[in-house]
Amino acid sequence: MLGEGIAKGLIETARNFLGSYVNKDRLTTVQYPEQRLPQAEATRDFPFLVYDGEDWQAGLRCVGCQICEKECPPKCIFIEKSTDKKPDAVGKPQFYPAVFNIDISVCMSCQICVEVCPFDAIKMDTAFELSTVDRFGGLLWDKARLAKPNQHYHHVHPTEAAEVDGRLAEERAKADAKAKAAAEAKTSAPPPAAPPAAPPANSGVSSTS
Amino acid sequence: MLFTIFAALTIAGAVAAISLRNLVHSVLSLILAFAGLAAVYLLLGAQFIGFAQILVYVGAVAILIVFTILLTRNDGTFGTSSQASWNLGALIVIAVFGTLAWTIHSSAALQHALPPQPEATMQQIGTALMVRFALPLEVIGLLLTAALIGAATIALHEKQERP
């Protein structure tokens, strides 16, 4: 009979309508500003720069190697490498980024910068309430805005941060042992020619892999 | 007063309809002319005719013309005739209008006093249509049916054999 299906549909929608007043389980909407869903641990949106210690200027892990700038698909990272070297967190002299800007209106949250960073210096953040009245300046984040302490990293991605810290500590220990052995060798034997490729203590490039 | 306004509206619409370059604009002005004429009908006490005018001309004929315009593409040339024939046409139109105007002006039939407003209720029109004018009504129905079928047949896509 023509119209039977229409009647069935009408009854179904009427049940939905009335049911939504009776049965609160039907309403799955989360009233956002007041209620929030817990974020998953793997949540990511825009990158930030990790620093160790208290002072963000001094503790920035980034050495301005510009790998992330080259790899970034939408080209939203802009880095200017410093000409001088500054001691890093462990006191080893390193280059540092004189300017490190990310245009987050361009960033597409792909996490490739994080994957390619050899120094674990750039990580993904989870903050999402980023609206601003300034369309251009407000969304171009500079080094100061991007720098976040390692504790923040621990806060947003605890598992991952612990893993990264463990790896870094291990490398450092390895490097320390190596240095100590070298020092002992130096004391026991006449010093050889200056070790040509003495790796920096907290660099992971040569020691890892 | 009202008559003058509506008459002016009608004439303006009509003139715009035949003189504008853009065909769609022409039709929109034609709609204005039709509407103005409908208002004139209402002023003359022919309510039914006025509304029928809007229903048929605005609602149907104008839309039909619009569809035709969209279905046929203007081939770029501006649609006025050559200068000579334009002049000749204008001359003839002026001659015709002059004759008409002069005839109306000099007619003796116009010297009547204004008769009272005649009654033309729906009931009367309906009765007249169904009783006195029953046969013409049937004929017009037949004509419309024939025109409908004919128009559909003419405008139907023919099967084209492409070489």
């Binding site: - | 003839i92 015709v96 002059g98």
Partner: protein, 695 residues
């Protein structure tokens, strides 16, 4: 006027409606169409019972038993052509019979046709047939009757040719249609003559109908050129229609062939109802048939009735003889039907309406019973129709056998307990008392003997002895390896059989000489019950004679076919062994078909050949001569033309062309140029008009 009389039209209208609705049904809606047809028929049956009881009431209260409803159909000139229906005892009894038998056959058909693809079409046709037949019955106008009559013929054609993919069925349908048309043509002529004489085609119309006194006396008084009363001529012409429809000699040839149709059709149309329509028609116009010029000779038979009697008697014997030598189970029954229809005609001729109609009614029941039994046998034997290949079915199909035996005994006229005895006895009694001649009585007796004989033969062949079906199937190298065993038919088929069998027995009771209820019902009187009826003059001897005849026939049958069981299908018939020459003549139906083939059809084609020859040589020669003459003349004319006329004409033409080209410039094909001219012309015209008005 009571409700039922006013709404008598409902009885045919309901099946007609069912036919229409079934025609719209889709092919797979089998249950729907069957339910519709049976429902409509059932309702018609109930209404018919109402009508019947209404007539009964009228009779017991002594009111006039005939009620008519007439209505104007259309106007021509300044008079109205009227149609109408009527309810009288004849109509009532026929209505009940047709609807009851029809209902049973409808039910039977659901079983018989269960596996047919065109089930819905079948029920559509059946319903349409029922509607038309009921229309014939209730008609109070010869015209309405004729229309329904033709509809009946049409549905008969459709149903005979129902399996039109069989060439024999298609041919049979055509044969039936054309043969009956011959009779119908005479009927139509008779009808027109009647209209010109009586000025109306209504049977009864408050004294103005064509079967009422004033019209009849006028027609009797009017003598035609050959000294025959107009009423006789009309009656004979109408009777010709009845001859065609009822399969009387010489137009009987279509009826046996009509057995190509499905068996329910044979039972309904070609045994119970349609073929009886001819008898019904004669009964309906009986006043016309029996119209006398003066009251004195009222006792002797009229010419028309004599013709009816003779035709009936001859048919009765003729068909019975043919039936003796047939081998197809349905064909035997068909010839038997023809024979019994002859009996009815004879009954009408010698004894009046009641005698003929009584046999019609009883025959309808037992013959449809026999046909349906035959259908059941055919169904059970997997579409085998040859009685020589059956045998021994009495054990395998007990219900069918029992009911078939009842039908057979009723048809033979087995004494006292079976309806056929009483009705046949009434006919024989009337024939014996006929004033013109005794010969019809002897012919009737012979027919009765033959009937008993061939029915016994058939029953022995079909139900006794050993089954010859299997041997036959083994003999043919057919694909199906396992020989199918005959089985009893479904209950939807056996139930109507049982019901009809009981009717075949019981119905005789309403027409015994002791209680002639049927006779008095038809004449509109209350019946009287008296055993003295048996003692009336000539009744007992006739009863005894016919009993003897029946027993003789049965005994002969047993002697030939029952003494030793028939063993093989291929053995020659017992009668054939005895008298092969006669048997062959009978088996070939007295060569009537061949006679027609060699006379009517041959003459026709010879005439056509002759016409063709005439056309080709004589007329064509004349035409050719004339045309050659004309050709010669035209050649002459052409020479004159070419050399004399043309040169001068060309000159003129050139002038015209030149001036035409000049004029053609005016027709530029540009609409606007024309419109400009119109504008100028308009202005000029108005100015001219005004000026002329001024001056």
């Amino acid at each position: 006027m009571t409700w039922i009389v006013r709404n008598l039209w409902l009885i045919p209208a309901l099946p007609a409606l069912a036919a229409g609705l079934t025609a719209l049904a889709k092919r797979h809606q089998r249950r729907y169409s069957a339910a519709l047809a049976i429902g409509a028929m059932g309702l018609s049956f109930l209404l018919s019972l109402c009508a019947f009881s209404q007539v009964m009431l009228a009779i017991t209260h002594g009111q006039p038993s005939r009620q008519v409803v007439n209505f104007p159909w259309f106007e021509f000139g300044n008079q109205w052509l009227k149609l109408g229906w009527m309810l009288d005892p004849l109509t009532a009894i026929m209505l009940v019979m047709v609807t009851f038998v029809g209902l049973l056959i409808f039910i039977y058909s659901t079983g018989y046709m269960a596996h047919d693809d065109n089930f819905t079409r079948f029920f559509c046709f059946l319903s349409l047939f029922a509607a038309a037949m009921l229309g014939v019955i209730i008609a109070n106008s010869l015209l309405l009757l004729f229309m329904c009559w033709e509809l009946v013929g049409l549905t008969s054609y459709l149903l005979i040719g129902f399996w039109y993919h069989k060439p024999s069925a298609a041919a049979a349908a055509k044969k039936a249609f054309i043969t009956t048309r011959i009779g119908d043509l005479a009927f139509l002529v008779g009808m027109l003559w009647l209209f010109s004489q009586a000025g109306t085609l209504l049977f009864y119309d408050q004294g103005a109908g064509c079967l009422e006194h004033s019209a009849l006396t006028a027609m009797v008084a009017h003598l035609t050129g050959i000294g025959m009363a107009a009423s006789t001529g009309i009656a004979l012409l109408i009777f010709a229609g009845a001859v065609g429809k009822s399969g009387q000699v010489p137009l009987h040839v279509w009826l046996p062939d009509a057995m190509e149709g499905p068996t329910p059709v044979s039972a309904l149309i070609h045994a119970a109802t349609m073929v009886a329509a001819g008898v019904f028609l004669v009964a309906r116009v009986y006043p016309l048939m029996a119209a006398h010029s003066d009251a004195a000779s009222a006792l002797s038979a009229t010419t028309a009735l004599q013709v009816v009697t003779w035709i009936g008697a001859i048919t009765a014997v003729f068909a019975a003889l043919i039936a003796v030598a047939q081998n197809d189970i349905k064909r035997i029954l068909a010839y038997s039907t023809v024979s019994q229809l002859g009996y009815m005609m004879m009954g009408l001729g010698v004894g009046g309406v009641a005698v003929g109609m009584f046999h019609l009614i009883t025959h309808a029941f037992f013959k449809s019973l026999l046909f349906m039994g035959a259908g059941s046998v055919i169904h059970g034997c997997h579409e085998e129709q040859d009685i020589r290949r059956m045998g021994g079915l009495s054990k395998l199909m007990p219900v069918t056998f029992a009911t078939y035996a009842v039908g057979m005994l009723a048809l033979c006229g087995f004494p006292l307990f079976f309806s056929g005895f009483w009705s046949k006895d009434a006919i024989l009694h009337a024939a014996m008392g006929w004033s013109i001649s005794r010969i019809p009585f002897y012919l009737g007796s012979l027919g009765a003997l033959l009937t008993a004989f061939y029915m016994t033969r058939q029953v022995y062949y079909v139900f006794f002895g050993t089954s010859r079906l299997a041997s036959h199937h083994e003999a043919t190298p057919a694909a199906h390896t396992a020989p199918p065993t005959p089985h009893e038919s479904p209950s939807s088929m056996t139930f109507p059989l049982v019901l009809l069998a009981s009717c075949a027995i019981l119905l005789g009771a309403v027409g015994t000489p002791a209680w002639p209820w049927f006779d008095s019902f038809l004449s509109g009187e209350a019946p009287i019950f008296a055993f003295a009826g048996f003692l009336e003059h000539g009744i007992l001897p006739v009863m005894l004679t016919s009993t003897l005849i029946v027993f003789l026939g049965l005994a002969l049958g047993w002697w030939f076919y029952g003494r030793q069981p028939i063993l093989s299908a291929d053995l020659p018939d017992a009668l054939e062994q005895l008298q092969p020459g006669i048997f062959r003549v009978l088996q070939n139906k007295f060569y009537v078909d061949e006679l027609y083939e060699h006379t009517v059809i041959r003459w026709n084609s010879a005439l056509a050949t002759f016409s063709d020859w005439l056309d080709r040589w004589v007329w064509n020669g004349v035409v050719m001569t004339v045309s050659n003459l004309v050709l010669g003349l035209s050649w002459l004319a052409r020479s004159t033309d070419t050399y004399l006329v043309n040169t001068s004409f060309d000159e003129g033409c050139n002038t015209v062309t030149t001036s035409g080209k000049l004029l053609a410039r005016l027709q530029s094909g540009r609409t606007q140029s024309y419109l400009r001219l119109v504008g100028i012309a308009f202005a000029a015209l108005v100015l001219v008009l005004i000026w002329s008005a001024r001056s």
